[in-house]
């Protein structure tokens, strides 16, 4: 995945939001990254350390919250967290392609001063 361009967008979003709130510095960014997003958290962290220089987030930390995959089973009308890549309902054994979370790539919040 192109973690650099994703991080660049996240950083721009953070810097815009910080300036809207009259902040001088960003102390921390928290991102939500789904387990099925294809994004590698370590690569995002590396990109962040390169890209933050020269911005108001130059001394900021990046926190990444992983979002587990959750599927919906239409047979049981219930959601479940699959184990592994084959998404099978633990109650009834039906395969599910109805993925309700796990694809997230979001900037959740920033902490500013």
């Amino acid at each position: 995945m192109h973690e650099f361009s994703l991080m660049q967008s996240a950083l721009e979003m953070a810097v815009d939001r910080a300036s809207q709130h009259g902040a001088e510095r960003i102390e921390r960014l928290t991102m939500r990254i789904g387990d099925l997003s294809g994004v590698v958290p370590e690569a995002l962290q590396f990109a962040f350390e390169v890209l933050r220089d020269g911005t108001c987030a130059a001394t900021a930390a990046l926190a990444i919250e992983r979002v587990p995959v959750r599927c919906h089973c239409s047979e049981c009308d219930a959601s479940f967290e699959p184990d592994g890549l084959v998404y099978v309902c633990p109650r009834c054994g039906a395969a599910s392609g109805d993925i309700r979370s796990g694809r997230e790539m979001e900037l959740a919040w920033i902490e500013v001063t």
């Binding site: 192109h2 967008s9 939001r17 294809g38 890549l85 790539m105 979001e106 900037l107 919040w109 001063t113």
Partner: protein, 233 residues
Amino acid sequence: MSDLDAMRAPEAGDRSAPRRVEVNEAILRRNQSSADENRQIFRERGWLAVNVLSSPGSGKTELLCRTSERLLQRGIHPAVVVGDLATDNDARRLQAAGAPVVQIVTGTLCHLDADMVRRAVESLPAAPVDVLLIENVGNLVCPSAYDLGEAGRAVLLSVTEGEDKPRKYPTMFKSATLVVITKVDLASPAGFDRDAAYSAIRGVAPQAAVLETSARTGAGIDAWIDALLALRQ
């Protein structure tokens, strides 16, 4: 969480304590809103848009050449947008199949995004279009994250690739509406294990219909076109 809670509740008058500002925005929100606009435009024009994805060399261009020819024979008008890092070789092959084609040369970019598709669509020659085939950059990773405004996604897997590819690229295969096994005329010389491939596809992508095609012999092309046209709901 305890240090975050402490940050969230600064002492009154303590101006140096960090404040928390909620954002809750998708990093790709700009692409998502462009994709939603594309979807609206395609709907208004009555176009069926399909995003065609695979590794490099899985047979996207050849399949789309045969698809264009067969659609034209059925009196249905195709148009093709094709993305590549470099060259317009694919566009020339597709043009020869009779469809209006716009090539997007992405340079070093590994995927198409919704804005690129919009610009390409606006530069198509003025002609009737029923089906817009979008041939993405050959890549099973990055394009999966970019909605282009399509009605469905066809992900290709050729018999000369590993049968376990769906397990290696689950994010892509789990986003597929259709999975197309291509180059089936080579199945036997390539030692293709059909059962293993179906087990990988059905395990990772139970939501997808599975088809088999050979662009060279024409096998399965009609069924593929029927599945494609059925995406128009």
